[in-house]
Symmetry: D3
Subunit: 304 residues, 6 copies
């Protein structure tokens, strides 16, 4: 039965391919390779936290060979993916030499910042350890906390975002998103000693600014009030500013580009904040009403 | 120490195997192969968005060979999994010829609908692009937006659900659920130009109906008011109806089979809606109370 | 350009390696192998639900060979990982013989409990089937429900947690967390016939106690009121007690170590509970306000 | 350029597909799965030589669980491949029930012989150890001698050959051939305590008979004198008979179905034997002539 | 101990890298990708013998989609590897446009010849079936005969050799060599209906010419008399000419560029031929001498 | 049918396990890991010929990081396998500290020799290029010549053999043997500028000594005259001595521990040499006899 229809189904798809998103036969457009980008993240993680992930445990006494070789491999792969990403976006307007120069510049800037990024991440580990009574050691956090993983990926992606690299920061943060349920847009600005506890269902929008010593819990959204204007809002600050030492409990939402949560404030779980909050405030939620009903006869199932 | 106990542990399991769910030695019951079903999704994605995923970039100028061969492979694999799924559920009541006829029918109907499904998905891409200022291009959405991936999988699974295929639609949507945190039951009915932003923690129940041009955010539940009656509710409409042009912000819940959200309505984040809402309403949430407390002495940690 | 800087970047990392978390050249510290631990979970799942996962379908009429051999493989791998985990934490204070004795003890206790655990899990399957009208069969639940998978992993990890095994319970539950969005700390105590519907964005903290016949939905947090005292709270009961026959709907939070939700209580979606609730209560949420605004001119996009 | 020609190349292949060997669209013909057959060999090797190959080292004190489970897996896979192989050859002449009965019979006979086969193989190990001064231990032979591997595969394949199983014996011995350069046709009859030293370039034809305590070296051919009559010779004895205690050195050939090498005989390397040899003979080769030429001037290269 | 020496070992290698073969930092030199080339061979085999190798069995009734898509994939991959190979050899002397033009030309010519090559290979299958009494079917030959596999790879590689493609033909034939022990240089010219029985230890040199209906056995060398003049002999005919209907038995050698084996000749196993042989000759070998020695006392081991 | 017999088959194997080669439940005996040893070879090849194998092409300008890191990884893995191998053989007679000391000593000596080994291998490349007119470049030899690969593996294994390392040298050379058909025992002593052309079916025995500038062809055996005395011959020189500048053509055999082939000698293909040959000899073979028979009628098949 199928074979009678095959040709017409094929025709249907072939005509759909006229859609501009389907660049089937355009040999000049390539996507950066997602697996290669995930490989760069894996190498960076291995570089920053050697012997945590994977069996290959180099035990030589001089770590410099390990560091140098890993950096060279990262650079090699990053350079290739940067070139694809820039060609994809700018291939019509920049020539090959200009793109190569840009690749070198981005790569060099990025790599130079890595040791500092490493130090910032070690502070994030400290924040998680100080903030979570269930953590038995800092090693446990590095090895297994999804919130820390999401922040690790964000900090790397952010360095590429600020250099206006297309596609790659998105691929990085969506990878972390898929593995942790934490969606931090690489455009967000996040200070030191940052911790996301339980790390699932968190959204931090592109133009969010977060200070130092901030702690947020699962389900927190730092979002836009409305994006009804769509692409017209591109580049406009749409997400809130969170100052130093703020804590936001589970499932709270803070929305809007003009919303500022002042330093030292604590926002209760489930709160829905769309206006600025003064410093050192305690934001709580009302509205729970309790009704006692008659005891159920049999506790053996939910169906009674 | 263990070896002394081994025989008794083995006995314990062997007697548990009497439970009807453990069909250990029943050669007539097989599950459809999850990897094969994921492979079908991958092939469909490759067919609809060639050169986005995977390296194998066919560049011949005539896409018809690529389309036809991919369809044949999809059909071959789908047919095999459909047969297993139908045998698993209906093997006691249908004979082999009847099952084969059903497989052919489902397969043919499904494949015939694919080009139209493709067009609908391209509209979903447009919806995401129009609705997200952070999206730099439509390609970025196709390549990396988890919300779009979840909708892609849902639309395919739904075509099998409406043909009453067992197990396979569930395997498909749970696969998307695991990768994106978006749980769309394949039974839901969803209109065109649909967008889920940030795509994590979203639940859309089996009997939900959604119109055209609807946009929802992370954490939104379109659920049942109560499922205490369990399997007795099977087939009953338990989830809401969302009309055209509705927007539902983050972490809002709309519950109940008789709940209708009228067209053009906007529901604020965190809202908990259990009754119908007239068209063009704006549903907001109250209940945030702000308390200012004394400044903390030292901002250096959360512990003060 | 990069190569000029390579040596200084290498130096930056090499000096970061002085941080105590980076045990680069300490040959006595190893992490348990995450892949091996996931392999143990896979073997346990295969043992408890043979022929559900993977193709290797043993069809001999006597299941005892299959059970025995699988148990021996599990024990072999578990023993190896337990040794690494105990050495990592206790290598400075326990000698090799003491660690080996502890490994034997943990292993033997764990394996002896498995048949009982199996029976408890079959009750969880029943709970899911009774509680979800969308479930077509119990097999579907075992095969594809993420909520059931998270509970399966939790119940195994919990048996190791109660024996004070370090790292491995965390690795297990974070694995389930990453795949399902359900974060159940292995320290929680959970009764029989437990069901998490939709299973995404759920957090159940370390010192939570849950009775029998409890059902919770997506987005529910059973958390701490505040963890500002950080590591000082380690071991203190910080999470709530949920008694028998309680149902908690989506996105509700119940917080605090002294909070007790009495038996038979139903908590509405989105509720934020920080104080104890008497038995058989119905907790609902207020605060939704509906405004009707003018109809929009064109339904064709979100931008009007 | 290619695309202009594509359709005609496609047509060329499509018309070639009319050749009877290309059963492209014949759904009733399948090959047994080569990977599955190699898997059966791997399981048999693991069963006979546990802990030699692969990491999965079961260390329980009772090996019966390991043996039983491995046998069940072997039987399950073998039964599936036997069915495919018999259907491929006999599907036109035997009905499904007859094929299933044959599968059971072959399977049962084969498995029953395995322990005896195991004992014979341990004698082959002894033969290799006694015969090779370079062998440091019997374990080394089991683990790494290609000659022993080829004999191991031959002995298994032979048990299927004698039951007239099509295709599978060939797939087995060609697998060993590819890995070792030793081509033993599964039809050959080979006695106990057999050793092939160095194991490369050896050919032992289908109707060869070899006694006990025979040793052969690399490059030895036990072949047919001529196969010019092709398929007419099928089933006729075309290859030699080698009696007990014979040694055949490297690159010697013994050809012909009527050729009998009497017991205790030693055949020198490079000999070409096409007639029977009495017992206890020593067969040597003549014909080397030595010429001394003038010394070369410079030893530094081959070109002078 | 090692670490004290590490720096000096590193220095040793770093200075070895000055050798011209070690183009460590030359970004303009790349090797073609061996895995990709093996993939092209696998695709060609799948195209010519569909459903023989691998599970993916397309069963649509129209094979044209399968053929077309496979060809497009082959062409895409081949074009990429051709470019690398030409750049590696000719990058200094040809510009990019010239290389691209050459790639197109080679690719188009190669693909156009494939259907004819397919027909020739089907004749080789017939030759093997006619020539080997142990072959039960032609399918068995296609599926498992290493001699046929080596010829298949040779015929493909030869088409590239005649177009003067560097490296790729060698990679192809060495791949077959490693799997079969048959080393056919891609430069050899081989007629139709060709069969290598047992297929191990066969060498066919670069300038060999072989007519139609030739059959050779394991261990046959068609080689050069001497290559002492090394690279000076490059391009000179150094290997023999074998006319139609010749049979060469096992381990025979025919050497020299001026050696012609006339049509219809049969060369015995082990023969060493360095001069031309008239047509229809029978070449036999002398020199076997048989000595009978005393019977050995005990047959139980080789050591007496 | 099978299941009735299962228990008795299991019993058969269980009693076979009493054989001393089956150390099923002896937890103190482990084999070195074959995959790890192959990994060491791959790393060494990558170190010596960077950018030839695998995609990971490090392009940093300073190769020292790459070299150092690769060496550290090789050392780490080698040390682990050495320990297993020594424990396997000497675990009964050496204590842990003695084994560790031996591991360090072997490792350090081995690594220190690597740069020199690298230089020797580059001379072998030159030998192959000078000696093979079909070689288009030295890169082609490194990348694809099986003879060079076998020599590469031999030279590495030999360094471990001379330090009396058990098992690992054998695993290495058998790996090369399986891939190339060249069986060089790691105990052989081979001089510089060595080339094996065509590389299949070559055997070089344990006590062979080969000088500089030697070239041998496919099928050559440098073997023992007889090994009937078996293990009593262990350690005795049983294989020949080949002096400088000797060439041995295809399928020739040189046998015996007292056989010396004097420098500059050329041995013809197929020769069988069991006595010493003076320097600068030319060894040729006699014995080919040519018979002309009547022309065959039809050349169309082999059957006439």
């Amino acid at each position: 039965m199928f074979n009678e229809n095959l040709d017409s189904i094929v025709d249907g798809f072939a005509s759909n391919y006229a859609s501009p998103e389907i660049f089937f036969t355009d040999p000049d457009r390539h996507f950066p390779n997602r697996d290669a980008i995930i490989g760069i993240l894996a190498d960076l993680r291995h570089l920053m936290f050697p012997r945590y992930f994977g069996d290959e445990t180099p035990t030589g006494s001089d770590p410099r060979y390990f560091i140098g070789e890993t950096l060279i491999r990262i650079e090699d792969s990053l350079r290739r993916e940067l070139r694809e990403a820039l060609l994809f976006r700018d291939g019509d307007t920049m020539d090959a030499a200009a793109i190569d120069a840009r690749v070198e510049e981005v790569c060099s800037t990025f790599l130079t910042k890595l040791p500092e990024l490493h130090r910032v991440l070690l502070k994030d580990v400290q924040a998680a350890f100080d903030g979570d009574p269930a953590a038995q050691s800092k090693e446990e956090i590095i090895f297994s906390y999804p919130g820390f993983f999401a922040v690790f990926v964000y900090r790397i992606a952010h360095e590429l975002y600020v250099q206006k690299v297309p596609l790659i920061p998105r691929i990085m943060t969506e990878y972390a998103h898929g593995r942790t349920g934490v969606d931090i847009n690489s455009g967000a600005t996040i200070g030191e000693y940052f911790f996301i506890d339980h790390a699932t269902g968190v959204v931090i929008g592109e133009t969010t600014t977060i200070g130092d010593h901030v702690k947020i819990y699962q389900g927190v959204t730092l979002g836009a009030l409305s994006t009804r204007a769509g692409q017209q809002l591109s580049g406009v600050k749409r997400h809130p500013t969170i100052e130093d030492n703020v804590t936001i409990y589970s499932n709270a939402s803070v929305l809007g580009g003009e919303t500022v949560v002042g330093e030292g404030t604590v926002i209760a779980g489930g709160a829905f904040v769309t206006e600025s909050i003064p410093a050192n405030s305690r934001v709580s939620v009302k509205g729970v009403e309790i009704n006692v009903r008659q005891p159920r006869k049999s506790p053996a199932s939910w169906e009674l």
